[in-house]
Each structure stands twice: as C-alpha cells, then as structure tokens.
C-alpha cells in the first residue's frame, strides 16, 4: 500500500481522531447554545450544525473559523466506519458491538439525510376553509399566474433562491423571459409620497413606481422574518414589457395583459401542493375551567383523499399529529378562536432515530449479557 494511503488509513481508524472530533463537537454545541441568544434556534442550526464550516463575520467579510456539524459528523461517520471495517472481526462474541456501532452509524446518516432533505411548511386554515397546499415558513416564490381561464390558474413559480442569484428564467409556459434585476433579501416598503427623497425606482409597471424600497439587514431573530423584494423585468419577443416590483410584503395584486392573456404577478410564501386537500371543521382551544390557562389545542380536520370521493376525519392535537402521504401535520399555533396553524413537515428519515437508538440499546444489552454469561461461567468453575 502506498505510504500516503497508509497514513490516511491510520488517521481515519484512530481512536485519537474520535476523541478530537468529540471534543470539537462539545465546543461546537456549547458555542451554538450561547449564540442562540442572538440568532434563535433556526439560524443557529443553519450556522453551526447544518454547515460544513462555521463562518464569523468581520466587517463585510466572512471567515471560516471552525468545523461545522456536517464536517464533524461526517468525519465521525468516516472514522467509525473505517475503524469498523479495519479492526472489527465478525464473530458471535462481538455481535453486540456490531449492532451498537451499526445503530450509531444509522443515527449519524439519518441526521445528515434529515438535515439535507427535511422540509418545514405551515398550513393556516380558517374554520370551513379547504386547502390543498402548505406554505413555506421562510422561503418565498415569485408566482406568475396565467389567469385567463375562468376555471383554472396556470402558475409558474420561481423560487426566491433563483431570483437572489439573478438567474434568467425562460419557461415554455411563459411568452416572456423573467429577468431579475435587483433583489433585496430583507426590505421595507414605503409609498413614494411618504418618502420624497427616495431614489428613483427601477420599476416601470404595476405598483412599483409608486413605492420606495429600503434594503434592510437580514434578520435571524426567531420572532421576526425577512421580507424580500425583487425587481423583475419581463422581456417578450419584441422587447421589454417593463420592470415590476414584487415583494413578500403583500401588495395589491399586479395584473397585466400580454399576448392575449391576463397575467398576475405576486411574491408569496413558497407553496407546496398535495394531491389531496384538508378542510378545517373545527378548531378548539380548551382552557382549564375558571382560568385563562390553555389546556389543549386541537383541530378537527377532514382529509379529502385524492380520489375526490372518500374523506377521513382526523383530530390533530398536541403530540398527536396526522401522518399522511409522507407529510406530518402538527398542531403548531392558532390565530383567534377560529383559525388554526398546522406545521407540516416532510422528513423521510423520521423513523431512523427510533430504529438506531433501539439498535444501540439492544447491542449494548447483548454485549453486556455475553460478558455476564462468560463471567458467571468462569465463577462457577472451581
């Protein structure tokens, strides 16, 4: 074996690496816990754990200063698996250790997978309302809607991340190109009449020319959200149709006609449609008698199946979510007496922690029993 490879192997199978990585992760968790005061849970997860490197901002520059959760977790995984492959031998006496380590590997892989693919949405329903989509809590989309058909809307939804990168969108459903000109991840809007000194707007169509935009610092606070604003130019075959302003701050609907069709342009929370729909039948907010203390929140919903015929009634309450079609609906919040807010989570690996923890526990019990039996056998012998 090549000397370099041998060194790499020695590094990856070493227990020293395990100890270093565990120490690094202790510091990471401690630092992240302290930083949670400033950033809130979600941003801390993104900055420290769902990242390969932790960056620190100095002035306008960002420097990587510490390994992030993915790097430490990934290396731990490599370390664990390499040591396993290199050192361990398959024998009945070691089967408990095998099972424990397999559980640990599964736990690490499951966390990486859920970090990469988990999606969180929200569904806000008034009593009697039916929806077949949930909305993203943090990301937005620019929806360009062909509203010509009296029965249907044809929607082209451009994710905010593409607008942020300034990617030009040419979609077969649109008779024009969408060219993002300027994007602010967080902003405030004012009517131009209220902000006489504001610089001229890029927008030439819709409400844009009447609005002054002030870019704001991106917020990570848990109780605040960002309000992105984008200027997009629509370019048809014969040249520009004009530039529109779209903002996550709800504005009056912006409508225009082009190529014999009626269009609407709106920036809204990113939507996630399902082939079935959910109707809120009743929202209940129970309190302990004679007090204002909340006892229970529950949403009685009707699940309207994709076949359009069958329905199912479900009561969603704390610790009793609805799991259907890969999504989990939790009772998250409410708004007034008749509006529920459900958290909708897609996490294909939600079962992994349960399976891996069971495997670890079972492995430890087996290993302990093997030793116990051997020890007891030895003692019995004179």
């Amino acid at each position: 074996m090549n000397e370099v490879l041998r060194q790499v192997r020695t590094l990856f199978v070493s227990l020293r690496l395990t100890v270093v990585l565990l120490s690094l992760s202790i510091v990471l968790i401690f630092w992240a816990t302290l930083d949670q005061v400033h950033l809130g849970v979600w941003a801390v997860q993104q900055k420290f754990f769902h990242s390969f490197l932790v960056f620190v901002k100095v002035g306008d520059l960002r420097f990587p200063v510490y390994p992030g959760g993915y790097l430490i977790g990934g290396l731990l995984l490599v370390n664990l698996v390499s040591a396993h492959v290199y050192r361990f031998k398959l024998s009945w006496r070691k089967c408990g250790i095998w099972l424990t380590h397999a559980g640990l590997i599964l736990l690490l892989v499951g966390e990486i997978v859920s970090g990469l693919v988990q999606q969180d949405f929200q569904m806000r329903l008034d009593e009697g309302e039916t929806k077949n989509y949930s909305e993203s809590i943090r990301t937005n989309e620019l929806a360009i809607i062909d509203a010509t058909d009296p029965k249907f809307d044809d929607v082209v939804a451009i994710p905010e991340s593409m607008l942020a990168k300034g990617l030009v969108v040419q979609n077969p459903k649109l008779p024009f190109r969408v060219v993002p000109k300027l994007y602010y991840p967080n902003s405030d809007l004012q009517m131009r009449s209220q902000a006489p000194g504001a610089p001229a707007s890029l927008a030439t169509q819709g409400i844009g020319p009447m609005v002054a935009v002030t870019p704001l610092e991106v917020t990570y606070a848990e109780d605040a959200r960002n309000w992105p604003t984008v200027f997009v130019e629509l370019v048809g075959p014969d040249g520009s149709l004009g530039t529109w302003l779209a903002s996550a701050i709800p504005l009056m609907p912006q409508k225009f006609d082009f190529a014999g069709r009626s269009w609407k342009l709106v920036m809204r929370p990113q939507r996630h449609y399902q082939p079935y729909s959910v109707t809120l039948e009743k929202f209940s907010h129970d309190i302990y008698p004679g007090t204002d203390i909340a006892k229970n929140f529950s949403s009685k919903i009707r699940l309207n199946m994709p076949d359009g015929v069958s329905t199912r009634e479900v009561l969603i309450y704390m610790n009793n979510p609805l799991r259907y079609s890969g999504l989990t609906y939790y009772q998250a919040s409410f708004d007034g007496e008749h509006t529920t807010i459900l958290e909708v989570v897609r996490n294909p690996s939600w079962l992994v922690p349960y399976i891996s923890c069971s495997a670890i526990a079972l492995g430890l019990v087996i290993q302990f029993m093997i030793h116990l039996v051997a020890f007891a056998g030895k003692r019995r012998r004179p």
Binding site: R9, V13, E141, D153, P159
Partner: protein, 206 residues
Amino acid sequence: MSSRLFIAGLAAATLLLAGCGEEKVATYRVPKEKDPELPMAAAADSGAQGPPPTGPSMADTSVPTATGADLTWEAPPAWQRKPASAMRKATYAVGVAGGESELSITAFAGDTGGEFANVNRWRGQVGLAPLRPEDLEGAVHRLQGNGLAFTIVELVPEGDPNAKSILGAIVPFEGSTWFFKLTGPASAVEGAKPAFIEFLHTVKAP
C-alpha cells in the same frame, strides 16, 4: 482496500445528497383561487396577531399599514381600549345592552382595491352576497365631517339578533385608506350604532 472503497462511496453519497438541494421553477395548474386581495387588510380585519405573515417587522412596514399622519379621534369613555396589535391602529371593546362588539381601526396605503371591493369583502364576512357595481350607491351612506369623507356601510342581516354584523366606515386620507369597523352580533352592533356615528364625528386630521 475495503476502507478505500468505503470512503469513495461516502464521498459520492455526500455529493449526491448535496445535489438534492437545487431548486427549480415549478409549473402547475390549480383551480381558480379567489384573488388574495389585500391579505394584510383581511388579516388586520380578523384580528390576526399571530405568526407569519404578521411578523413584528410589519409594525414598521409602511405599505400595508399606512404610515404618515394619523387621524385622531375621541372614543367614549365606556369603550374599553384593547392592547395594540401590529396590524391595527386601535381596537376597542364596545359594550351595550344588546351585547359586546369590537371596533377595529386600520389604515392601509393606497385605495386598497377601491370602495366597491372593500364593501363586498365585508359583505362576504357576514355571509351576504356581493353587490353589483350599480348597487353600491344604494348600499352606503355618505357623511362629511372635519374635512373627511366617510363612506358608511351597515351590514346587519335581518331576523337573527345573533347574526354576525358589521357597521363600518371607509375614510380616504392623504393617499391611504382608513377603516373603522364595528363587528359583533346584530343586536350589539345595532345598539352601538348611535355612539359609533357620534364617534365618527370626532375623527379628524391631526
């Protein structure tokens, strides 16, 4: 050898997973939706104080909740002022013999879709059919006072004293539109009507 193979496999899997995050333009057809006209106005109307889209940053967001000069008013001492919310200029609990109703005061930049759309939005909230444009004049009362033009809308379904009712006034002021909206059971709204009209006379520019 096996550890080398494994590391190569792991690197490939990581790359594959990292590739999953790429977002794409989505196209789809959905049954026609009601126009989300003035979601902020609707949210304020319904007393939304909760999570998104009513983030705290909305408190200083000037497009939906109009900034600029505020109208002033004098509420009767019997009306109980409720805690402020980001979406409202003020909220009062209005109690009369017929029951309790709530007065919400909101303001939004622009004409918020126009008087006709707003009257129909309120009609929808109390379960009344929308008006035709030519019927609008017959369904509202106009009132002038303190240099302001009030459009008063009385939406009290007949027959049921508990039916949800609205007595509202729409006031354009310096490029924004103010809404004074009394909501409650029919008997409470009816009972509070004289005081509400009296109150509108106290509304004036600063």
